[in-house]
């Protein structure tokens, strides 16, 4: 008995520039087709579901504004993941870093750290941003340190920290910060809200009711910064080198441990900022369900974008749409399924980037 191995992989000397984009797009399309088959198997009509998907997310400007709201945390987290993955650091802890960021930002209002009535709005929001990022960075420090010093698998540590962060938040919103026994804090005062499009409805009537907030600008700025870091700076070169060839990096005298911790902290800070924008820009309070698995979707966003910061922008909008559409859709796991299949297809398609695939007959194989 012999398992046939009729494919022969030949290393691509120079893969064409358009190939990564094509494989990503192909993976998404194929993911929708496969999910459609699963949907059909469960008795739903995939065409109805998908047309509903499209309408719910791109059907009107209001719907698109909702998509932007969902895309904001995905963009920030996806950028953080892209940075970490570039160094082959698997930060799956964005979810936890997001929660700690949200917690720290909320602390500004709930403790309160400043006088909310007299402090100007920009100062409160800046402080919330700062603390959100610090919280995420510190939470990213833990797995970074353990990885750098003890070489402990960061995937498991970050996942465990995710569970811990959620419970930590629960402790505060069920207990000390609970409003009248509900599992949430009081609504933040207006001075702690990130400005939204709807706030400018008086000047631009079309903005009425639109919930998209300033956070998306942070995301876009972060995309530019991360791009500059990765592709235009010495540090980015080091990160890429460590990721591609740690041995060479070590010979070149690059301090891998220090960069591991640093990258983890920057990645965490971005997720923490995402948590801040969510409490300050969307829900205006700390509560239990501030994340619909943004941390995990961010992983897929980064991978689908092939770790390119500008591609992350596009992909996070696409995934924002998926999240908006799947809010009301049953069964609830369908967006998870599509995301999982997409990621699978994307990583499978990577083989097309590395190798040219040639089919050979067994007879030919023996002849080689």
């Amino acid at each position: 008995m012999k398992i046939p191995y009729p494919v022969f992989l030949k290393r691509h000397e120079d893969p064409p520039k358009w190939l990564p984009a094509v494989t990503s797009i192909g993976a998404v399309i194929l993911a929708f087709i496969i999910s459609g088959i699963v949907l059909a198997a469960t008795g739903a009509n995939p065409f109805t579901v998908y047309s509903y998907f499209f309408k719910a997310s791109f059907g009107s400007w209001g719907a698109f504004s909702d998509v932007i709201v969902k895309a904001t945390p995905l963009l920030l987290i996806g950028l953080g993941c892209a940075l970490a993955f570039k160094m082959r650091l698997w930060n799956i802890g964005a979810e936890g870093q997001f929660f700690i960021g949200a917690f720290m930002a909320s602390a500004v209002v709930m403790v309160p750290l400043v006088n909310l009535d007299t402090t100007p709005r920009w100062a409160i929001i800046s402080l919330m941003m700062l603390l959100g990022m610090v919280g995420g960075a510190l939470y990213g420090f833990i797995p970074g340190f353990l990885k750098a010093k003890l070489n402990i698998n960061e995937v498991i540590i970050t996942l465990m920290l995710n569970y811990i962060a959620v419970l930590w938040n629960n402790y505060w919103i069920f207990g000390k910060w609970s409003e009248a026994g509900f599992q949430m804090t009081k609504t933040f005062p207006r001075s702690a809200w990130l400005p939204r499009l709807a706030d400018y409805a008086a000047e631009v009537p079309a903005f009425a009711g639109m919930t998209a907030h300033f956070g998306i600008l942070f995301g876009l700025i972060a995309a530019v910064i991360i791009y500059q870091i990765l592709y235009r700076s010495k540090w980015g070169y080091k990160i890429t080198l460590i990721g591609d060839n740690p041995k060479a990096a070590r010979y070149a005298g690059i301090n891998i441990a220090r960069n591991t911790i640093l990258v983890f902290m920057v990645s965490g800070a971005l997720a923490g900022l995402a948590g801040m924008t969510e409490v300050s820009g969307v829900v205006h309070r700390l509560q239990e369900r501030i994340s619909t698995s943004y941390g995990f979707s961010g992983v897929i966003v980064a991978w689908l974008a092939k770790l390119n910061p500008f591609a992350v922008i596009v992909v996070s909008v696409l995934f924002g749409a998926l999240l908006v559409a799947s809010r009301e859709i049953q069964p609830s796991g369908i967006s998870f399924l599509i995301q999982g299949i997409t990621l699978f297809l994307v990583i499978s398609s990577d083989v097309l980037l590395k190798y040219e695939i040639k089919w050979v007959r067994p007879a030919q194989e023996t002849a080689q």
Partner: protein, 321 residues
């Protein structure tokens, strides 16, 4: 506090971790790291419960769970063995995929009841003071299967010819290949077996230890804990079993801490401030982190490493390790 009950139910919950961890040990010993245990367990839990619910036969449910976990693992095998994708990312996507599949196919199962694996008391052995009621009384049959798995896997890995091949493939695939061991087939096989174990572990939750389907909360991170346990156990089934049971006991202990008004003669803070319970719920995850730190520094001291070829794709004709 009822210590007998704490240990008894600890062994029962630990069995889930034990089964999943032993499966992952077999997979990793062949050089394939599968981080998708959580996803495979979820699919197994869903399939086991769904089939048991629909057919009324729990054994069919168990078979379905094993098959489901195994089938899902083949996706990982294909992607990492033939497409040489990164094993970490592939394992992660397997978890996403498994979670999604389980949620979609398990839609509407929440709140249903299905037949469960029967329990049994072993005559004689259950009479042993302390040990008897803890380990041999009124356990479901999967717990006893767990007892058998420990020595059997250890014997298989260390004392049999296929076990030798398995270790060779994980340590030095190029050498194993020259000796005529089919690397690809071996790796497919043990990834599949690991998946079957994970599926079984999932069903051990949903049709035996905590019967029912509670969407992704059914497994709630235990798959990841099992992966951590493998590292803690230094890829040794005995240590994995010990760790699994220890985890089960500590988990149950933290649950029971909330009950009494007095704790060791002092006012029990967890009784009087129910919000502190969230810290108790952190315990398994904190413990996992501590176990990993401890396990890795112990491994470093004793110079025990992971299987040398773990996570490294093998391609014939290319220079090996």
């Amino acid at each position: 506090m009822n210590w007998i009950e704490i240990f008894r139910s600890g062994i029962s919950t630990g069995t889930v971790l034990l089964i999943a961890a032993i499966g992952e040990i077999l997979t990793e010993r062949s050089g394939i790291q599968n981080l998708g245990v959580e996803g495979m367990m979820l699919v197994g839990a869903m399939a086991g419960f769904k089939v048991a619910f629909q057919t009324g036969n729990v054994w069919l449910g168990l078979l379905a769970a094993i098959a489901a976990g195994g089938l899902l693992s083949l996706a990982h095998a294909l992607v990492v063995i033939h497409f040489q994708a990164d094993q970490t990312v592939s394992g992660l996507s397997l978890t996403f995929l498994g979670t999604g599949l389980a949620l979609v196919l398990g839609d509407g199962l929440t709140g249903q009841t299905a037949p469960v694996i029967p329990s049994a008391t072993i005559p004689l052995l259950s009479q042993i003071p302390y040990l008897g009621p803890v380990a041999f009384a009124n356990h479901n049959l999967l717990v006893y299967l767990g007892y058998l798995l420990m020595p059997l896997t250890w014997y298989y890995i260390n004392k049999t010819r296929p076990g030798l091949h398995l270790r060779a493939v994980g340590e030095n695939p190029a050498a194993a290949d020259t000796l005529g061991v089919n690397i690809y087939r071996t790796r497919y096989l043990y990834t599949f077996i690991g998946g079957c174990f994970a599926g079984l572990a999932g069903a051990a939750i949903s049709v035996a230890i905590a019967p029912g389907w509670y969407s992704n909360l059914t497994v709630n991170g235990q798959g990841w804990i099992a992966v951590a346990l493998v590292i803690f156990a230094h890829w040794n089934p005995w240590r994995a079993a010990l760790g699994g049971y220890l985890f089960g006991v500590l988990r149950r202990f933290t649950l029971d801490l909330q009950g009494p008004r007095l704790l060791f003669g002092l006012a029990n803070p967890f009784f009087f401030n129910t919000n502190l319970v969230f810290f108790l719920q952190m315990a398994p995850y904190l413990l996992t982190i501590i176990a990993l730190i401890w396990g890795s520094s112990a491994a470093r001291r004793k110079r025990i490493g992971s299987p040398a070829a773990l996570g490294v794709p093998y391609q014939r004709g290319e220079r090996g390790l």
